[in-house]
Subunit: 311 residues, 2 copies
């Protein structure tokens, strides 16, 4: 029988206390799930979120995998005590669909100029129509599970979509660019820019003053990726000049975003409180069980992190 | 050479003055387009919008078709002087894509609860997440060109979609209902209801108090169809009880919607000023030319109105 340590915020445990053992049983894994242990050397797998207390992985000498409940793993990849294989959450239903819905919704909100109708004064009857989506270029930076799914959903809504990733990728219906040279081509003239990159030393502050100058004047920035992908001061400056017409931000360097942060009160910024996509226990528990099953069978699970890349 | 009378608001003419003759030439039609005529008996086709002055079609004894610039033709089908074939605008690019974008955008806006973030006070960090779209039933009433396209776009976003039409229809990926008996099944428990029916004596006030009670409590109503599909007083009552949680309305019995109409100030109503979809000259002009070409060749053009049905 395997021993699986669940190490996340105590508030998360009730969501998994029944689901995770049930999902493991369904996957044919004989395991017990514990939230504490006196014998770390006997733990086979660790289900992990940074919201839990675990910081030192050294005592888990037998652990064959650390399974992150989160898709973003930048807070753990720098942990020198973590020598076990790390698996980030890949959940095509819960995580991916939720992200597609947030990105498509906010892209269409800005495309349609919805805010002026939501906030309209009585009698406001301005019939200016937006162009069709087919005339509104969108750039999606990051073509992993989430970025590729969002790029395809936006393409299905008729937006012309350019994608960008560090290494070459091929996403049907999306004009894919890659590498340092490709970033300018993806951003140039884009009217909506979506950030879905992992946070690594290479991507931190990717959207600096120079990159923020590349999209079309008045472009909209959507960031459901990671806060530190953006140079906050450069973004505020670009919003003030109107080069960036609006930023809808779901992630921040410090969360919750402090109430006195200028993003809250800037008229061209919408803050959503890290809700673009969330790990949903009903779909995440079976994914954890599947990763355990794959690793026990000696196979590579979806989402195995390449520590040299950082994701 | 054919004579084609363009009868719409004078402000519309500059959009068509070059495009329409060019589109006719491209379609191989030898024609001149006029905005006035002293010889109505010599007119072969009439391009028509209710915003023009034409009300009496009797003198156009040779006219073989009246080609509406608008998709909705309820203001003309009751005109007893109109004995010529009437063709409503069917424009898979301009009209249909615009409508799909408005419907998908507002469905996602309500699905995601976007307004509370757009209007959030600084520091508001409430991480309640919506369910996934797959858990949010949507009903689309009307499965013509616009309704079917919107139903499929919503299904592609993973909403479970029920469609309803007067006569049986089959739309891939949509649970289709029809007739009086099917309406209850389409509406029951729906969390978002989209109205895309033509306005006819059968559909006027379709959404009355009894029908508004069928969707799930707090359901959202989107009306980009025609204002008179809804019993306004019944809708206001349903909004006041919360049975309808929000209504986003693009069309009204009187347009522009008078500034003192209660829809403007109701906290659960968003007014958009008849912009959900608009006839776009760049795509509409080729459609008009195509209809002329079809009719000259003795074929039935897309959008030929069945006067007994009213659309």
């Amino acid at each position: 029988m395997l021993t699986i340590l669940f190490s996340a915020a105590p508030k998360d445990w009730p969501d998994y206390a029944e689901r995770l053992p049930a999902a493991l049983a369904t996957a044919g894994i004989d395991a017990r799930v514990v939230t504490e242990t006196d014998a770390p050397g006997a733990v086979d797998y660790i289900v992990y979120a940074p919201s839990g207390r675990l910081r030192d992985f050294t005592p888990f000498t037998r652990a064959r995998g650390v399974l992150s409940l989160w898709a973003g793993v930048e807070t753990i990849t720098g942990n020198a005590t973590l020598t076990q294989p790390l698996v980030r959450m890949v959940d095509p239903v819960g995580l991916t669909e939720g992200m597609v819905e947030w990105v498509a919704g906010h892209a269409l909100r800005h495309h349609l100029g919805m805010d002026r109708h939501i906030l309209a004064a009585p009698g406001a009857w301005d019939q200016d129509c937006p162009p069709l989506a087919r005339a509104r270029p969108v750039a999606v930076l990051g073509l992993g599970e989430l970025g590729a799914a969002c790029a395809q959903a936006l393409a299905a809504l008729n937006f012309p979509v350019r994608g960008w990733s560090r290494r070459p990728r091929d996403v049907a219906g999306v004009a894919c660019h890659h590498g340092d040279d490709g970033l300018g081509a993806a951003l140039a003239g884009a009217e909506i820019v979506v950030l879905l990159l992992p946070l690594t030393p290479d991507t931190e502050n990717l959207m600096d003053a120079a990159r923020l100058a590349l999209p079309a004047p008045g472009a909209v920035l959507l960031n459901p990726g990671r806060g530190a992908l953006i140079d906050d001061a450069a973004l505020l400056a670009a919003l003030d000049t109107g080069q960036i017409g609006h930023a809808t931000l779901d992630v921040f360097r410090v969360e919750p975003l402090p109430a006195d942060h200028p993003f809250w009160s800037h008229p061209r910024v919408t803050v959503t409180p890290h809700v673009a996509s969330t790990t949903r226990p009903e779909t995440a528990a079976p994914r954890i069980a599947a990763s355990v099953a794959e690793m026990e069978a000696g196979r590579v699970p979806a989402g195995l992190v390449d520590r040299s890349r950082g994701y």
